[in-house]
């Protein structure tokens, strides 16, 4: 066997393995799409049909009539935008301080951020729920925004700290200071504009985390009309709500997945660094 032949065999084996796990990854989505195209009449008929002539987009039209998916998407977008702006505003400042100032609490604050990032949300859920109940923020979107901002701050600050550290040379600040700029001027006229790509990415990342959050949304908002998209989908199509067609559920699921795939495409680099903020060298 020549070298060329053996290389060809190797590539072939590799391709088979790639196809194997890629179909494991993709098959569930293909099934979702196929189901979303099947009208009620063929969906629940045995033996199961994978393809059928009668497949059409009627489920998508029925979804618009029966389930207010876009209403819940809108609510989620509003919540997500508020949280992203709040979290990024706070975190950019904190990240700047952590990367540019040597003070005694620097290490301690970083440690606190890492601990809060590791702390399971369900552990602080009970006491925080109690607190929000007393403040009248249960079943209130403001409460959700507050909780989500607290959730987003640790990873956004850690991400922005390491971004700001390497975004531009410190000489730039020094010469601005010689020219008489105050700290605020340097921050708003140099740091923020130069770090805008990083800030935007972190904001999008925070938005994505909020868009996919389910546990808090499920506990905090029990009134159907103001649920965010994940808990709304769950209450429409979850295990306790039989009766709705799997076709409509799949159509809604497909629509709700699209924004996340678009976001993931833009954020590919940050999907990992965001979650491991600090622990992996880039």
């Amino acid at each position: 066997m020549t070298l060329k032949q053996s290389n060809r065999i190797k590539t072939f084996i590799k391709l088979v393995i790639v196809l194997l796990f890629s179909s494991f990854g993709l098959f569930p989505f293909i099934w979702l799409f196929l189901t979303s195209l099947k009208p009620y009449s063929i969906l629940y008929k045995l033996p199961l049909k994978w393809f059928d002539k009668a497949m059409n987009f009627s489920n998508y039209l029925n979804m618009l009539k029966e389930v207010p998916v876009f209403r819940h998407l809108f609510i989620t977008f509003i919540v997500g935008i508020f949280v992203a702006i709040l979290a990024v505003t706070i975190s950019t400042g904190a990240g700047y301080i952590l990367s540019h100032f040597n003070f005694r609490g620097n290490f301690f604050l970083t440690l606190m951020l890492l601990i809060s990032q590791m702390l399971p949300q369900i552990v602080i859920m009970v006491p925080l729920y109690f607190l929000l109940l007393q403040l009248g923020l249960v079943n209130n979107l403001v409460g959700l925004v507050v909780v989500y901002t607290g959730m987003a701050i640790p990873f956004s600050t850690l991400m922005l700290r390491s971004y700001i550290e390497t975004a531009y040379s410190k000489n730039l600040e020094d010469s601005a200071r010689v020219d008489g700029c105050t700290y605020f001027q340097i921050y708003f006229h140099i740091t923020v504009p130069l770090c805008m790509p990083g800030i935007a990415a972190v904001a999008l990342f925070a938005f994505m985390i909020i868009y996919e959050e389910f546990m808090w949304a499920n506990v905090l908002i029990t009134r159907n009309s103001i649920k965010t998209i994940q808990s709304a989908l769950y209450s429409f199509f979850g295990i306790y709500s039989s009766g709705t067609s799997g076709g409509i559920a799949s159509a809604a699921g497909f629509v709700v997945t699209i924004p996340t795939i678009i976001l993931a495409f833009f954020l590919q680099r940050y999907l990992v660094t965001g979650l491991t903020a600090g622990a992996v060298k880039e």
């Binding site: 590539t11 590799k14 391709l15 393995i17 796990f21 890629s22 990854g25 569930p28 989505f29 099934w31 189901t35 199961l48 994978w50 706070i90 975190s91 400042g93 904190a94 290490f107 604050l109 970083t110 440690l111 890492l114 601990i115 702390l119 399971p120 369900i122 552990v123 602080i124 006491p127 607190l131 909780v147 607290g150 959730m151 701050i153 390491s162 105050t182 700290y183 605020f184 921050y187 389910f214 546990m215 506990v219 994940q230 808990s231 769950y234 199509f237 295990i239 799997g246 799949s250 699921g253 497909f254 997945t257 795939i261 976001l263 993931a264 999907l271 990992v272 600090g278 622990a279 992996v280």
Partner: protein
């Protein structure tokens, strides 16, 4: 000159305080105070039958630790975590190795394999509810067509001969978790593979090393730091995982798939025993102390190294 310096100093302090206060307030209000008050709550009687909040010492803890259900939940969580971490790491590792080197359509395959990681949980539950259903499941359909099984399997409702930590519904949930998380491992390992210099492999080729030898003596040792981070993080996440286990089985059938977070949720928001739920939360944090400590030490160490460079 001194006046100028003084002004500069006060400007600096004002700037520093303005930027650092919000993050400290947020951390205190939303993470640290809740955690401490949760700790305090765990020593109190606070349930739907008795909202008095009176101090009862370790009664909640004794109650939990003497309960058979708790130890079963612990065993289930341990088995779920272990199996999930192994599955994700294995698939993600193989995927990264295959997609790192020249493979046809590399870019497309990489993009495809990120999608499960990005998909929202409610949608994942819609999909897998169908796959694991009894009558209309594509999985059963394939198995029946190829004659691997004779009857449809009720994947998430299979009771069998009694509880074991490796029961079928739990294994099904492990597969779902593996499906969600292998892209994360893949991306991490891919970035690790990029950091290995090509010269190492070239030198090995000159020395006549075979592919397996290259994998064992070059790739694996170079990837060790990445693998350590991946496994530690996955362990911490899986141990506290909630979403899909709640959405797909709610801990059932008969508590077979009840893991730690579901137990806490059930105690707090379905049985309304907040004192006991807080005690459970503290027990969960204690169980996660060692891996979290390890991870945080790693993160701080690397942050310092980066700064020194």
């Amino acid at each position: 000159m001194t006046k100028n310096k003084l002004k500069h100093k006060s400007d600096k302090i004002f700037f520093f305080t303005t930027l650092i206060t919000p993050v400290i307030v947020a951390l205190l209000l939303l993470l640290i105070i809740p955690f401490i008050s949760g700790f305090a709550l765990s020593f109190r009687q606070q349930s739907v039958s008795d909202m008095s909040g009176k101090f009862i010492g370790f009664a909640n803890y004794v109650d939990i630790l003497s309960e058979k259900r708790f130890w079963r939940v612990f065993a289930t969580t341990a088995s779920y975590t272990l199996l999930s971490v192994i599955l994700c790491t294995f698939i993600g590792f193989v995927a990264a190795l295959c997609l790192h080197t020249q493979t046809p359509f590399k870019g497309i395959f990489r993009a495809i394999n990120v999608i499960p990681w990005a998909a929202p949980p409610a949608v994942i539950s819609i999909i897998w509810t169908q796959i694991y259903s009894k009558a209309y499941s594509p999985l059963n359909d394939i198995l029946l067509r190829f004659g691997i099984v004779r009857n449809q399997i009720d994947w998430l409702g299979y009771i069998g001969r009694g509880y074991t930590p490796f029961n079928l519904p739990l294994l099904c949930l492990v597969v779902v978790y593996g499906w969600i998380c292998y892209p994360f491992v893949m991306l991490m390992i891919l970035s690790g593979l990029q950091s290995i210099p090509d010269e190492l492999y070239e030198a090995a080729t000159v020395d006549g090393a075979r592919d397996i030898q290259k994998l064992v003596y070059i790739t694996l040792p170079s990837l060790k730091p990445f693998l350590v981070v991946v496994v530690t993080l996955l362990f911490i996440w899986t141990f506290q995982y909630f979403n899909l286990n709640y959405m797909l089985t709610h801990g059932g059938p008969r508590g077979y798939t009840e893991i730690f977070s579901i137990f806490i949720y059930d105690t707090a928001f379905e049985k309304f025993n907040f004192g006991k739920a807080s005690a459970l939360g503290i027990l969960m944090s204690v169980s996660l102390f060692i891996p979290s400590y390890y991870y945080i030490r790693l993160a701080l160490h690397q942050a310092r190294e980066k700064r020194l460079k």
